[in-house]
Symmetry: C2
Subunit: 403 residues, 2 copies
């Protein structure tokens, strides 16, 4: 077993909890803070591993639930893990599958078979784990802390997340407490199973697989603090803040970070699950988050919404950091999406061409917009890292958010 | 006006009419024979210009009809032509729009508006040209030889094709003759208008835009020969064989080449319109075709049919040069599509991963399959070029088609 997972802090901001660091993994180093794009089904939608690398992506997220169902773990085991299966040699983080099991289960069925649309999926949650029906074909499956750890082990990701009971929103304090307590019992079981898998895995030079504990507690201060204290008392390699971006307000999310972050030990990395819209980034980094995953950059890209911080943002009545490139007003616009942007898209193509590609539904358009959005956010986060190191984080924040 | 369009023959096969050459254009040289992928809507589906370049694509096809409708010529004129609009600095060939005007017009309406589906598009063909309704929105448009030449001029492609009356199939000899004679009159008008545009275009250093005449005559020997004689009597820069791959048999197509090719002057390049399935390539090259465009490589790729000439082809009951990667049997297949293939896809990904991407409809799959198919066909054609130069064309053909 190669013991190469570690974390070092390289700089701290004086006015906030923001910090820069490096997570060392068997598949390479990750400079933090870092944005983590999502490759739900073992592919960051529209992009090749080569492009991810060129975009400076150092870590991406793969969903255990999706890959467990398709292609299935037997296939991925044959390859020795996700890295070889996807042709990606950099670090990978996987979740426990819990979030999807709960959230897809609590939503409507989504299948190709129209007859089944609208039927509710069956999810039965017990102390042992969760039994659910595949959202693809209705087949029955069970996720327990032990099974989830086994699945992540088979995926071979560099960072695993413990199996938790992802508390829905809104929720009563009583139900949130019950859910949190279950998460805590499952955290213990996850750690134990993960330890067993480590001990049993006989492969020579097996890369170290880290395990992060997941903190729950919904929007309640006492629960969040209790969860942070309990989970950090366990020997996890890092910590994930879960149960956010599930419907609560941005203010409520900020509260959660304010309560939880001071309790987390400085010396271990922190991952914020499912958060990373442009206007969240300064806030979450200033609270001390090291890594954060979010589908917004890629999803908006495929919808033709491309990130910008130029004069357009001010004109944009929606006050968002993006423009809708599919609009007719861009049909003859010869400028790149963002003047001065160094991405492949902006270096080679105009708003006009992009608008055309979306208009006629050419697949290249989805990709060029995705490339721009990931570049934009990575560039922003790299500027933030530099500003933390230079002691100018606050000034850069003001400069970026009020250009 | 930069006079850089020329053609030179570099080698000739002794047993067939196959030859190698170089077409010099203002945007670079094209080694022939060459396969020409199709970028119908100003994009070779799924691929970026960078990828096309890396795949060794030196020339690609853009459809005047499609770009005329969307984004519209006003947009492309703003950019000074397709090269700048698409971000592609290599040579481009455009058609006259005639084929689409006739073929889309003769088919059913295809629009996003379901109400209109099934209605026949209105196409009225007269001596002056064709009036038709857009297959997108039903708006009325007119293509004449003069307008078609003006459109291609605005697109700024390196090679234009004269406006012709694309004869449908099947057709009576009488109707084929009428259609051919109209094509001949339109060829004269196309040349005249193209000359005017050249003379009128005042831009300094304007790249030379070549014009190819188009040969019609359906499947009738006397008409094809008459058309070849008439069109080659006009001062075109090269010649295109049109009205093939419109429904006739492969044998009939081979006949057309046999009749027409000996009449074409050696010293000018010949383009075969819309033909280039794997099993056509040896035949068309042996008849002396220099360039040929075909959507098969890219279209099959997006359907998950990937080219192979390995042992699989023999097992494949359909006796085609491709396998259907979406099949369950490839779910756990760790081999690349084609052992020994040098393409990005085969160098980095397994059949299993490709099958997964298609199975879950990830856009990356369509691209990886397209990359492989274009690489495969380009590699084949480059091997053919080498074999012609080395005098081993016949042997290579036997080797490839009976492995």
């Amino acid at each position: 077993m190669i013991q190469t997972f570690s974390f070092e802090i390289t700089a701290k901001d004086k006015k906030t909890k923001a910090r820069t660091g490096v997570i060392h993994t068997p598949h390479g180093d990750i400079e933090t803070p870092t944005f983590v794009p999502v490759g739900t089904q073992a592919s960051v939608k529209t992009l090749s591993p080569l492009e991810l690398d060129e975009l400076g992506v150092r870590l991406f997220f793969v969903n255990t639930y999706h890959t467990y169902l398709r292609p299935g773990l037997d296939v991925i085991k044959k390859f020795g893990g996700l890295h070889q299966f996807m042709g990606w040699n950099g670090p990978i983080i996987t979740d426990s599958g819990g979030f999807q099991v709960f959230s897809l289960g609590r939503k409507k069925f989504v299948t190709k078979n129209e007859k089944e649309e609208g039927e509710a999926a069956l999810v039965s949650i017990g102390e042992d784990g969760v039994v659910f029906q595949s959202h693809w074909d209705g087949s029955k499956h069970e996720f327990t802390p032990e099974k989830s750890m086994q699945y992540e082990w088979a995926l071979g990701s560099d960072i695993h997340i413990a199996f938790d009971d992802c508390t829905p929103y809104p929720v009563t304090p009583q139900d949130a407490k019950k859910s949190m307590e279950r998460t805590h019992r499952w955290a213990v079981r996850s750690l134990e199973e993960h330890g067993k898998l480590k001990a049993e895995d006989g492969r020579q030079n097996k890369p170290y697989q880290a395990l992060y504990g997941s903190i729950q507690g919904s929007v309640y201060e006492d629960l969040r603090k209790e969860s942070a204290k309990f989970i950090t008392s366990l020997p996890f390699d890092g910590f994930a803040i879960g149960g956010v971006a599930v419907g609560e307000t941005k203010k409520e999310m900020a509260n959660v970070l304010e309560w939880v972050m001071p309790i987390l030990p400085d010396e271990k990395p922190r991952h914020l699950l499912g958060v990373g819209e442009i206007d969240d980034i300064f806030e979450l980094i200033s609270c001390g988050v090291d890594t954060f995953d979010c589908v917004q950059a890629t999803r908006l890209g495929r919808m033709g919404r491309v990130f910008t911080n130029s004069e357009l943002r001010i004109q944009n009545s929606e006050k968002e950091f993006n423009i809708d490139i599919t609009k007719r007003e861009y049909a003859g616009d010869m400028r790149p999406i963002e003047e001065g942007c160094g991405c492949y898209t902006c270096q080679h193509f105009s708003r006009s061409y992009l608008r055309h590609l979306f208009h006629v539904r050419e697949l290249l358009g989805y990709r060029l917009a995705t490339i721009h959005n990931i570049y934009f956010i990575n560039h922003l986060v790299s500027q933030i890292r530099a500003s933390i190191k230079e002691g100018t984080f606050a000034e850069f924040r003001t400069h970026f958010t009020n250009p």
